[in-house]
């Protein structure tokens, strides 16, 4: 590696670095400042208060509820997405009639923004006038209209389901990419050796798909943890904060109640949670690949 190459390389990454440090770096500093000071609702920093804002958060039951629900939300959506996307990808990878159409249909939720999907579902789930109740009644599955969004018991699972629905296209695409890169000959060899389809799946497909599953897992978790539109459009975290996750509560704190200091403290907590997760995950992944390499 010579000097010119070094300078050249750095010159090439400099613009991206500059952009990121400007747009992302300064706000980080600002959020840290706001989290440790008292801030009025119009954004003026007042006194330094150290960890007082964090203490307010810790004492806030809605914060803990939102934290818990965020884990449920993330786990539910990502888990459901991965579980469904792998079989879907395997099917779509296979050759059958109408595959092209099916691929297009499965991709549709990705093209429609989360916000618009949520808006349409909010209308569809309307207790009095929505089509879902209509269809279910016509099919004889329910006798009376159900108020889908009136309680958290119904609304939160529905939100998770919608989250899964909109995450399937991306994850399926990643898996399809992975599947299409798998060499076909090892399957032939395995079949000749007498391995059945299930065994081929467990022993060949899964391990080879590991990198893709990892990528899908990490990207999805980061994305879903911070996902705002679905819950906001459908229930706004209500009734009684029972469907609030960290991001929706953050939004209310900052922009409805004007508690900017507390909201900034919460932002830092969210970042810390994700950071911890990423570090743990990276460690695990490195250990696995070391083990794999050692074999």
């Amino acid at each position: 590696m010579n000097g010119t190459q070094f300078r050249l390389a750095w010159a090439m990454i400099l613009p991206s670095l500059a952009l990121a440090i400007w747009i992302i770096g300064y706000p980080i500093y600002d959020v840290v400042m706001a989290a440790t000071h008292e801030v009025n609702r119009f954004g003026k920093l007042r006194d330094f208060v150290g960890v007082a804002n964090f203490e307010t958060l810790i004492a806030d039951p809605i914060f803990w509820g939102s934290l818990r629900r965020t884990f449920v939300w993330t786990g539910g959506v990502v888990g459901g997405t991965l579980l469904l996307s792998l079989p879907i990808a395997i099917m779509l990878n296979d050759d059958f009639h109408g595959r092209g159409i099916l691929r297009v249909i499965i991709m549709l939720p990705w093209a429609v923004s989360l916000t618009m999907t949520s808006i349409v579902w909010r209308w569809t789930l309307n207790g009095q006038y929505g089509m879902l109740n209509e269809v279910l009644k016509d099919l004889g599955l329910i006798g009376q209209s159900i108020e889908w969004l009136a309680t958290a018991t119904l609304a939160f699972p529905i939100e998770i389901l919608i989250g899964i629905l909109v995450s399937i296209p991306f994850t399926t695409t990643v898996f399809l990419g992975g599947l299409s890169s798998l060499p076909g000959d090892i399957y032939e060899a395995a079949r000749i050796d007498g391995a059945g389809p299930w065994q081929r799946f467990i022993n060949l497909t899964l391990p080879l798909m590991r990198p893709f599953i990892n990528i899908a897992l990490v990207l999805n978790i980061i994305h879903v943890f911070n996902s705002f539109p679905i819950i906001w459009v459908l229930t706004q975290g209500d009734p009684a904060n029972s469907t609030d996750i960290l991001v929706t509560y953050l939004y209310k704190l900052a922009f409805r109640y004007g508690r900017i200091g507390d909201a900034s403290a919460m932002s830092l907590v969210m970042f810390a949670v994700l950071l911890v997760f990423t570090i743990i995950y990276a460690r695990m992944a490195m250990r696995e690949s070391k083990e794999a390499a050692a074999q």
Binding site: F42, T151, Q236, P239, Y257
Partner: protein, 416 residues
């Protein structure tokens, strides 16, 4: 260069410079700009304000008025961020309950320098109070409403009820009979959700049971015995199946839609419904009566105020616009009539359109008993806390007294 040409050139140049100077001077002098934000009440709001602007501009050719129409849902945030970013307009309509925060942070200008006693006298007193803080006037009431009970005359008749209910007990009885008419009919529309006034719907009950949002010692009154009784009344109605299902997912629009379809017997609403009913359900036979009494009469008085921002550089001109155009009799009548509000001017109240309107009577009759949203900072968070508590109770996930008590504690904490 030949003499003539040189002369011509210099004449032309001087002429150009002169023209430029005139143009510059003209533009410097011509347009003082006043930026006004009008909140979106209906599709007519912008037109009405444009009309005011046109009248004013005709009388003051050197002033240019720019009107912007902003929906209520985004208005508060928009203003807060505008102020934070230094781009606030000169004039804006605001929800009067936001005024306290604005005044505390020196965001709006006091109007005491501009208001003459004669001007003040044109207003109906009770509407000026909410925008008067510590004796100084910070905003002029631009839209005023009270609340009353709308009832479906046909349904009441079918159910064999002669008179609209005047007390909560009578309402419950009436609701039972209406509910019995069929699966699709509901007795009482109860709003339990939504960004607009889900908590206010409960204040109707609170006030008519003699309760208060804040007691005289400045503590939260939402856990008082009166408040408990008020909540019990509503809970009773819900548990007996006399309201529409899905109370905690019904916002104002939902229950008003139900009423417009003729499927609910009684709801509590404001003057805007009349305009909407005339347009969307002209065949519906309805009446307006006072909010049912528990132990006393009450209604919710709401004003929206128009304010001038402290950082505005054209405060004098802005006031002129308000005094001459926005608050002229002509435009006050126009606005109040078209948007369906209550008159804030004594002169407008005397106008036959309003004085002779029997339906308006139901609202104006209650004005002496009007209560207003308290003017305290951080009101939004308190309102949300109340709403949360109510939703928990409506869903049956919390007992009335302890849930209200917990909410009251939280509100007292926010107050300090």
């Amino acid at each position: 260069m030949p003499r003539k040409a040189a002369l011509l050139c210099s004449c032309a140049t001087m002429g150009a410079i002169a023209l430029g100077a005139v143009a510059l001077a003209g533009s410097a002098q011509a347009q003082t700009e006043i930026r006004v934000i009008a909140s979106h009440y209906s599709d007519q709001t912008a037109t009405i304000f444009e009309g005011m602007a046109a009248d004013f501009e005709a009388a003051h050719p050197d002033i240019d008025i720019v009107i912007e129409d902003v929906p209520w849902g985004s208005l508060q945030q928009r203003l807060v961020t505008d102020v934070a970013g230094g781009t606030a307009p000169d004039i804006s309509i605001i929800g009067t309950r936001w005024l306290v925060d604005f005044v505390e942070n020196d965001v709006v200008a006091s109007m005491d320098d501009y208001i003459t006693p004669e001007f003040k006298d044109r207003f109906i007193e009770v509407f000026m109070d909410p925008s008067t803080i510590d004796g100084e006037v910070y905003g002029l009431p631009v839209a005023a409403s009270a609340r009353a009970m709308y009832y479906n005359e046909d349904l009441l008749e079918q159910a064999g009820i002669a008179e609209p209910p005047a007390t909560w007990d009578e309402l419950k009885a009436a609701a039972e009979k209406i509910d019995a008419l069929g699966d699709d009919y509901y007795g009482f529309g109860l709003q339990g959700a939504g960004e607009t006034e889900a908590d206010a719907y409960w204040y109707y009950s609170l006030w008519t049971h003699g309760g208060e949002i804040f007691t005289e010692d400045g503590e939260s009154g939402i856990a008082s015995p009166e408040a408990v009784a008020a909540t019990q009344t509503y809970k009773d109605l819900i548990d007996s199946g006399l309201t529409q299902p899905g109370v905690t997912s019904a916002d104002r629009e939902d229950i008003e839609a139900l009423f417009k379809q003729g499927r609910v017997g009684m709801i509590l609403s404001g003057p805007w419904m009349r305009g909407q009913l005339a347009e969307e359900a002209p065949d519906l036979n309805y009446g307006i009566a006072g909010i049912p009494e528990g132990t006393q009469k009450a209604t919710y008085g709401v004003t929206d105020s128009i304010v001038i921002f402290a950082d505005s550089e054209v405060k004098d001109e802005a006031w002129m616009f308000l005094e001459e155009a926005a608050f002229s009799d002509k435009w006050r009548t126009e606005f109040t009539l078209k948007e369906g509000f209550l008159p804030v001017f004594k002169s407008v109240a005397a106008d036959p359109h309003f004085a002779d309107d029997p339906q308006l009577k139901a609202f104006t009759d209650l004005l002496p008993y009007a209560q207003f949203a308290p003017l305290v900072p951080n009101w939004q968070e308190m309102a949300d806390t109340t709403k949360s508590a109510l939703q928990t109770i409506y869903l049956g996930e919390g007992e009335v007294e302890p849930t209200l008590a917990a909410a009251a504690d939280k509100i007292n904490g926010i107050l300090k």
